[in-house]
Symmetry: C2
Subunit: 215 residues, 2 copies
DNA sequence: GTCTATATGTAGATAGAC
DNA sequence: GTCTATCTACATATAGAC
């Protein structure tokens, strides 16, 4: 992902610390606005306002609206994948490759990161948009599918009798439920009164999905 | 829902058959375009092109973009709710109020309608947009929440030990999975090779969610 | 009810000063 | 790299002829 092709032109020089800070403000603002309003609902001007930067700066760092969206999604994807694969490696060390443990390893990093940094909560909304819109299938394929396949391989080994497509169905159901929990607290509250703490909700999610896999 | 307040002004006269046909073309087109592109991604011009009508006609029948969206969602909501509640009534007659049966009664109508009429498939996408965007919370609350509450009541009776919020969580997980199956065939295919027939996928969905409720 | 023409606002993108 | 000013296109909405 971070490897550079030999033919790639070398950068002129390292960007200044100030430029890097501006760049980060731009991407943080894009993340927030895209997450709240979606790709079509967001405007470059909204992002500029959120970043406290002029409109031209957004274009300079983002390279156009679509490229900015793509880069915003890709920015945190490596961190998320690594956290998931690390959790999987730790799980393999304990030899507890149950559906429960595997789902926990896949989902827990997202919740842990969201708890520590509200920008990860925005990122979850962004991922939900990307996952449900065929228009961004290519982004999903490059940012999320490889790790998903790794976990599906492990889940499939536990249930060699099930077909691959059946594993994929159950995995999509589980990811949908996970994203619903991360992004639709309002919906849960509207239907069920006062919600419980998120740690508990996370345990409920794992139980729900693990039971589904066991069935 | 269809009741009219006493103070409502009476319509001048019944609309002509031709006007009714135009009106239906407008709403069918709106449904298709909103479903494919979302509220912000859709334009009145796209809808006009899909309907084969001039732009002004869309405004005349729809009453502005937002009102048109709301009316498009509401148009099929009664049919869907009635089908769900009828299935629930039939279930009560057989006295098989298991989570499996209840989830089947709630979800099956959507799949049956989608199989017979592709416009219901578009409607499913539209419902997915509405369900995941807090901006349309009011539409969800009026169109879908009452029926959802009825089914949650029945599910809660089967598990009086569980808290209401826990039932709501599991219900949201289940609905998310259902909408994923109705709208994200491409996602499942991308992750799991050749998918199985939809009847089978539906059974898998029910098993997955029922197991989650049982846990 | 239907359709054309138009008013008004705002979108994404860029050119060029600093 | 940063910021201002502006270009061009297209959005929603409406007014008024038919």
């Amino acid at each position: 992902m971070t490897a550079m092709l030999p033919s790639a032109p070398p950068r002129k020089r390292a960007p200044s610390a100030r430029a890097l800070a501006t760049r980060q403000r731009v991407f943080d603002a894009a993340e927030q606005v895209f997450a709240r309003q979606g790709f079509d609902g967001a405007t470059i001007r909204d992002i500029a306002a959120a970043a406290g930067e002029p409109v031209g700066t957004i274009h300079h760092h983002g390279g156009g609206k679509e490229a900015l969206f793509h880069a915003t999604v890709a920015r945190r994807a490596d961190t998320l994948s690594r956290a998931r694969l690390d959790a999987l490696a730790r799980l393999r060390a304990t030899d507890e490759l149950t559906p429960d443990g595997l789902l926990r390893a896949f989902m827990q990093p997202f919740f842990a990161l969201s708890r520590d940094d509200p920008r990860w909560r925005d990122y979850a909304r962004l991922v939900a948009f990307v996952s449900t819109d065929d228009r961004w299938r290519a982004i999903s394929a490059s940012c999320f599918d490889p790790t998903a396949q790794t976990f599906m391989d492990a889940l499939h080994q536990r249930r060699p009798d099930a077909s691959r497509s059946r594993i994929a169905e159950a995995f999509v159901f589980s990811v949908s439920a996970m994203l619903a929990l991360l992004t639709s607290q309002g919906r849960i509250a509207a239907l069920g009164g006062t919600p419980v703490p998120e740690d508990q909700q996370f345990d409920h999610l794992i139980h729900f999905c693990a039971a589904g896999f066991a069935a």
